[in-house]
Symmetry: C2
Subunit: 343 residues, 2 copies
Amino acid sequence: MGIAATIENPTKPEDAGLNDLVALVADGMSRVNSTILSRTGSDVAMIPEVANHLIASGGKRLRPILTLACAQLCGYVDVGGRDGDVKLAASVEFMHTATLLHDDVVDESDMRRGRVAARIKWGNEASVLVGDFLLGQAFRMMVEVGSLRALDILSAAATVIAEGEVMQLSAAKNLETDEKAYLAVIRGKTAELFAAACEVGPVIAGRSEAEQAAARSYGMNLGIAFQLIDDALDYGGTSAALGKNVGDDFREGKITLPIVLAYRRGSEEERAFWRRTLQHGEIGGDDLAAALACLQRHGALEETVARARHYGEQATAALAIFPDGPVKSALLDAVEFCIARAH
Amino acid sequence: MGIAATIENPTKPEDAGLNDLVALVADGMSRVNSTILSRTGSDVAMIPEVANHLIASGGKRLRPILTLACAQLCGYVDVGGRDGDVKLAASVEFMHTATLLHDDVVDESDMRRGRVAARIKWGNEASVLVGDFLLGQAFRMMVEVGSLRALDILSAAATVIAEGEVMQLSAAKNLETDEKAYLAVIRGKTAELFAAACEVGPVIAGRSEAEQAAARSYGMNLGIAFQLIDDALDYGGTSAALGKNVGDDFREGKITLPIVLAYRRGSEEERAFWRRTLQHGEIGGDDLAAALACLQRHGALEETVARARHYGEQATAALAIFPDGPVKSALLDAVEFCIARAH
């Protein structure tokens, strides 16, 4: 087995809105965490070291939680202790972790989840290769589960995520990006994995295509809402208090929805400002404050949150075909939680 | 479907030793090439551009040829035109191409297959993401074939390849690497995919475990022999005439078997030379010539070729359980071809 990574408890006070969901899947998540530990083990010591650096630093584990919850919502029964839901949930988290490791190389990030990025500590090469290792392990676990339909969904998601990331690359620093193009990017890079994570639940529970499509739609819309709120939060959200890390997207020249909206609505002078800062990367000490003022002037953050609320409503509506009960309630709360982060 | 890549004819005169094998699988390979074209298509224009840059530049396509040949050897019949052998062969080539794209980022290579590396033309980020896209497409095709056993073999190969590459990273510039450690690296980074490419042939033909194991052993040993000859060729092989690209491994500080052998057998002065050039990267104008002289003095290249011949013999022996015929003969010739490249 070799060396294994260790996992800290990822629960944070600001994630309290997810408490019901977390409690409902607690048993499964403890098996997901053990699976993650054992599947990052390797005799090649650098693999668990790098994987552990990122996995142990937490995150909410929202994606595997969604897989377990959607399987539970659909009455999945683990015949013979084969841990189908747990292995698919762990696969989803590995796919997400692999994406983060590769993203760091793509973005040349210095930080990730409040820690120095793996690529700074071990080099780009380790981030690329350990990401590949985790992707391989994800597919091995899916194969063990033995559902060709689940394999189909998750392998298609892997290509769509990569396409979304390449699209983002092509759109980078391009202020001509419109809302439609931006939505195509976040559907790929973020929402597709949420959608796949949810869809495989009814699939392994053997439920109808209508229920599979409903779970997929819930995940897709939730994922879009989640990313839009992230984009708003990067400029402090709609609250007056500014948290840490405000302005990361600005400094990296990322064109997100708040920028798309403010640029469209901006005066010629404001557009010149966005071109100088985001397109040419000439950012001075007062520019973040000026950017925030401009976003505020055009209501760009409120508008972004309103768009997120719209997608959240579609996520909520998608769950209508499932019977009421504690899991459905908790999944509905998760939508509220994602939106409420903005305040 | 979007934009698709184009494929040039990859046949080169020096590959004539493979002619029988190439002729036997010609129909299948033409379907593999069409599949590669259609599966690199994407509405995101950068994806076929980058994929095409590498795929169209050729290479012998040895791995997919092996998949088709091993399926044919085992009497695979394509029921209902589902192209199981063709899709698995294309998957194997995509896995190989993804590895090359990611390797370029890892090695910081400037050139690949005689062309400027994709990462130089489009950046590290494009190499990482298009590699991920191809890996996702590879798994989608495997899922379409529907053999869980083939999926198991190829997903396991994906993790073993990544482990081998990380091992190589840990061993880089480390002159304490011994022959055993070096063989573990090349089993992972090269031979595992050869083994998997061969093993899936009898698998989709529904043949016995003994035949699956024999095909795997043929591929594994052929892969090791292939890599050892590559290592010798990087120092010009055993021929007096030096080809182009001689000394690439030397300039990159790669510890390959010729170096492992010469370092073990070297005088204190020679060891100091290897430490200065490979470990510390202090390479002057006369150092490649000095390195070649040192390798020659200790017979390191002949010895490397002798090791390759040993693995080649094991590959040949593994085919004994299959009935004689044109495919088996051509697979035996392929072993000879791999070894003969060194002269």
